[in-house]
């Protein structure tokens, strides 16, 4: 994209988040435009479709107050880019990367295209360093590893922000002291949530090594399409240029997807499910696949996107397509939340696909895989029994079934519901698991090898 800047006042149509300019002829696909409103205000836009006679443009700042008379459009001849330098650490920006902390503009270091380029799959190093989050439901049963993308599926009113902040605060990699950073990209979050994160970052001193991009609920919706790309561009710079281990929190992906839907609807595109565009999988992948590690480079990008499930419905297109792209998911449960369990993680639908490579002898502990499988088997059975008991009562149950029920109750209360206080080490998590597995006779623990049962089951709790 090298054509020089050109300016037009031939806006012929404005509709929804889109604007059509006629007579352009050579607008490049993806080219950035600067829209100047009648009152002199400037907004950013991007070419979505270009023809010999017209260009269709999405306006990130929204189209209110645009007109078809005075409004002018400058085609910059450039793709969407941002400035990165080591100075972005500790800074807070708005959803379009303008400083929002009273500080000045970032002194140019490097100017990069925010859409990024796909990592060549052969360049990827497989993620296998366990991150200890201090949370048993995660560390014990859905282990997070460096370079993974692991979303939190949540619902309105559930404590996902608190959980994400807690992970950001506690996360550490076993046997490692390398430089790390946090990138927070917020799309459509409330002022209260924004304040919560900023306070949290300030109080814990995390802000110094954080970069924050905030698009609030009352900021322009279409801007949300670029916010995660800004956050990930910053993260890529920190990880792959500066060699840092970066944790990226993106909240809320659902608001991002709604912005995509708005643009798609304005273009009269044939929707896939519930009005969301057919290319949403591809679009989300272009965000989520910007996580990982690269052979021969020091840093890594770990993503923790937050998805609020409308109606707590995990089959809604946003969590559904997300789950098809990410490497697992942590699912929060309204039931557990009501029971007062924190963190209210429902481990059954939760999953970390990269767990098996990050645990075991030499990484965490030899019994980790077996213990996790056994907890899953027992808890799944317990939950089935619970629903049975509501119909037929406990009388008809065998001794073994009663044991499983007792386990299930204690598992939720003690193992999952560890409370808001500090975290547990992986060892403590596994020991807590054995405390519960002692409820069963050794022969019933068929997911753990006899040698490990011998070694850990009989061992007294420390």
């Amino acid at each position: 994209m090298t054509s020089p800047a050109r300016e037009y006042t031939s806006v012929v149509r404005v509709s929804g988040p889109l604007m059509v300019v006629s007579g352009v002829g050579d607008a490049a696909y993806g080219e950035v435009v600067e829209v100047r409103l009648p009152d002199g205000e400037k907004r950013l836009g991007q070419v979505l479709e270009s023809r010999t006679d017209i260009a269709v443009i999405q306006v990130f700042g929204g189209t209110q107050d645009l007109d078809t008379d005075i409004t002018s459009v400058r085609f910059t001849g450039e793709p969407l880019r941002m400035v990165v330098s080591p100075e972005i650490l500790g800074r807070i920006f708005d959803g379009s990367a303008a400083p929002a902390d009273g500080g000045g503009a970032v002194i140019p270091g490097k100017i990069v295209d925010i859409s990024g380029s796909p990592i060549n799959p052969t360049a990827r190093a497989f993620p296998e360093d366990c991150i200890e989050t201090g949370i048993s439901a995660i560390d014990g049963m859905n282990t997070l590893v460096r370079g993974q993308k692991l979303p939190i599926f949540s619902g309105a009113g559930l404590p996902h922000s608190r959980l994400a902040a807690q992970i950001a605060r506690q996360a550490r990699v076993l046997r490692d002291q390398e430089e790390f950073a946090i990138v927070f990209g917020a799309m459509g979050i409330t002022n209260e949530e924004a304040r919560f994160f900023l306070n949290e970052f300030e109080e814990t001193g995390a802000l110094e090594h954080a970069v924050v991009f905030i698009n609030r609920a009352d900021d322009p919706a279409i801007e949300r399409i670029i916010t995660p790309r800004l956050a990930l561009t910053a993260a890529e710079y920190l990880a792959f240029d500066l060699g840092m281990h970066v944790l990226v929190i993106l909240q809320d992906i659902t608001a991002y997807c709604e912005a995509l839907r708005e643009v798609s609807a304005a273009r009269d595109e044939v929707p896939a499910r519930r009005g969301y565009p057919g290319y949403m999988y591809t679009d989300l992948a272009s965000v989520f696949e910007r996580a990982g590690r690269i052979h021969g480079r020091k840093g890594s990008i770990t993503q923790l996107p937050i998805i609020s499930m409308p109606d707590d419905d995990i089959t809604h297109p946003v969590p559904d397509l997300t789950g098809y792209i990410t490497e697992g998911q942590i699912v929060l449960s309204r039931d557990l939340h009501r029971k007062g369990v924190y963190p209210p993680i429902d481990v059954l639908p939760s999953l970390s696909r990269l767990m098996s490579g990050g645990i075991g002898e030499g990484k965490t502990r030899e019994d980790h895989g077996g213990v996790s499988d056994q907890l899953y088997a027992a808890y799944a059975k317990g939950r089935r029994l619970e629903s049975l008991v509501t119909v037929i009562g406990e009388e008809g149950l065998s001794e073994a079934d009663r044991r499983t029920l007792a386990f299930t109750a204690r598992f939720e209360k003690e193992f999952i519901g560890q409370g808001v206080g500090g975290g547990r080490t992986v060892d403590e998590t596994l020991d807590a698991a054995w405390d519960l597995l002692r409820l069963f006779p050794g022969e019933e623990l068929n997911r753990i090898s006899p040698a490990l049962i011998e070694k850990y089951l009989r061992r007294e709790a420390p």
Binding site: Y29, T122, A272
Partner: protein, 587 residues
Amino acid sequence: MTGRIIRITGPVVEADGMRGALMYELVHAGTDALIGEIIGLAEDVATIQVYEDTTGIAPGEPVERTGAPLSVELGPGLLGMVYDGIQRPLEVIRNEMGDFIIRGATLPALDRRRTYAFTPVAEAGGKAVPGTVIGTVAEGRFVHRILVPHGTEGVFASVAGAGEYTVMDQIAAVLSAGGSEVPVTMLRRWPVRVGRPFAEKLRPKDPLITGQRIIDSFFPIVKGGTAAVPGPFGAGKTVVQHQLAKWSDADIIVYVGCGERGNELADVLRQFPALSDPRSGTPLMDRTVLIGNTSNMPVAAREASVYTGITIAEYYRDMGYDVALMADSTSRWAEAMREISGRLEEMPGEHGYPAYLASRLAGFYERAGKVRVLGPSGSEGSVSVIGAVSPPGGDFSEPVTQNTLRVVRVFWALDADLAHARHFPSINWLTSYSLYPDDVQGWWNAHGGEEWSAMRGAMMAILQKEGELEEIVHLVGPDVLPEDDKLALHVAGIIRESFLIQSAFDPVDTFCPPEKQYHMMRLITDYARYGKEAVEGGRSVAEIASLPVAARLARLGSMENEAFTEYFEETEREMAAAFGKGAGGRT
């Protein structure tokens, strides 16, 4: 042969001045000469899907025609390679352009400089028809047969002597009936959207042994067969595909990562060179071709990737090999079609998919099969196709799942509840099916024993019974059931826990040889029969379930594959004794 771009919308570009262009012709679009394919023609306007990111392209830029359709390069050197959806070599691209994919790469799929030791088979003066073996080269442990290409016929004017040749060197010349002499190299090109010809389709009868018990013993697939693996996210589709790529007894594996995760390809690249094929002892990577067009790579190239893969599979089939192709996920391919179709503003069908979805899916699976290849050798080869399907919301009633089910013969339905309880592989035994058991029975009779079919039936009947009883249990509790029903529940539990559950991550159980599967089935069916007799003789199920032998059965899978016979015989003896069956069990 030059047109001019008049419209760009995402991966779709329109150009005028294209009169005379052919449907599916390859073009170079824009000043950066991005690779694209013509997918629509109207008067002098061509619609082009572009295989690379179109950002920065503007109206007025040129489009160059190439006169040829999108094709792949075929020849020695494919095995062990990693390609993108249009067969660009990803490792070479990385070496030349760095860790991130930058557009505009035009690197040949096959190394032009590498030489191969060629051994002639044909002789000058001999007859040459498509499929005649000209000579062979060693590609790792495989004999790579160089065949007379399609469309070439006559007598050999010359055949090169034994020696080292590149894929560009002439290794033969064929004198056609018309008197012209056609030079032949080891490099072939084939348009990906056209199936390679063969002499005849044969009825497959050999199972593709995968080492996965629920597949081989319950829902088998044959060499040359088709299977679909649908399931919601996280249910285990990719693990099933990886397990098949690792352990199935095909000669050659073509693995197509179609619009899925980069880390999953990294996982294959990390494991396959290090793992050895249980049959040949050589690294798995040496028999594998990887096509990786991940979700964040251009969507049009994703659409092409499955065709690139199956054309390579057919090429090795034509040498007489059994090839298995995995496509993960065909839903992403279908979505790529939908996305392109949407940009073309075509009339959408169900869920926005184009009306030709069903015929494209059928056309793809139709390229699987066991065949007698062209030419005088009369060899047989096969392509088996296993496609993952990713239904939105896990709902199998959607168009991609339904249209796939109409054409495939095996259905491994993955189940979210099983996956949540970490019952893997989460193939649901009540809803899955295979149409091949009768075809493979002969193989099992010869390689396992005569009882395969009966045992399979007995085990599936017990599971079926469990399914029916579950509803009753949910209403009245397990307590009131008669003893024989309780026994069915108990045995079903053992079948699930010790036979159906098979962890891909267990160093031993990841691959279960067919003989071991057969013996496990025998132990379990014997246990069921002894149990039934005992119950009829008045023993309670609670008593039977507490026998130590029940716990012993639970660990059959993880018994070393070399030593299992001994453990199994011991278990059989112990079981016979526990049920008062005298010594020795069975032969």
